[in-house]
Symmetry: C2
Subunit: 149 residues, 2 copies
């Protein structure tokens, strides 16, 4: 966590939050509906209880996960994603699609419910109201540092 990568780069700073071992998988698991500690632990075959516990705490501090008590005495929590946590869905989809195209053994594909055809990810310009080729977009610096919060 604590600022591993010092680079002035969205990707590095995002990975400072979600780049630790197991972290993305935990978030993904919550996203797909595993919401209690043991559901997560069972589903994430191989994770240890203390690590899961630590990660959940950090993710809550970072504002990606929210927890609500569903039983006092003993305290039992349900973990859900916040809006920013849920926004990682695009990252998961990008990883899934990469895996679909490049893994030796692939498990999932992303399909359009209506026609069952596989979908792709594309860049869309809301101003031009069209999809644009990757070659026609560039990452450019923003001046207005300090965005949300």
């Amino acid at each position: 966590m604590k600022e591993r990568y010092k680079l002035p780069c969205n990707i590095a700073q995002t990975l400072n939050i979600v780049g630790d071992r197991w972290t993305l998988l935990i978030l993904h698991d919550i996203l797909v509906g595993n919401e209690t500690f043991n559901e997560l632990k069972k589903s994430l075959d191989g994770i240890s209880a203390n690590l899961l516990s630590d990660r959940l705490k950090h993710l809550e501090e970072a504002g990606l996960v929210a927890s609500s008590v569903y039983s006092k005495h003993p305290p039992r929590y349900q973990y859900t994603l916040t809006d920013s946590g849920r926004e990682l869905e695009l990252v998961f989809d990008a990883l899934l699609v990469w895996g679909r195209n490049n893994l030796d053994i692939c498990y999932k594909q992303l399909v359009h419910n209506e026609c069952q055809h596989e979908v792709e990810l594309q860049h869309y310009c809301p101003s031009c109201k069209t999809n644009v080729d990757r070659a026609d977009v560039s990452p450019v610096p923003v001046e207005e540092h300090q965005l949300n919060k």
Copy 2:
């Protein structure tokens, strides 16, 4: 590397390849044009030489990075991405966009060159020839395991 996550899931298996510390940042750095060992080392402020060396070797084995000798005696290499490495660009874009929307301090945004307007990532169905809402797509299992290679 060696199969940390055992889950039958594209995301977990993809992270087995690119999920280690520094790995995605190295790949991104090569993508944006840092191609020699020292360029990478300088650009990735904080990485140690041995880790960079290890990672490059593993990424080459995994087929995401290719190296070509640009000087024998002493051997000097130039590192470039293979096709599968380059396909990670969508993952980088997804991380960049997430950072743009959720980081306290954001450095980059992704803009359409022509109109300088910020772009988004969307799901596109090549069969329907339209963009589709995330709610209208689902990850479904594939039977034909064993894809490429």
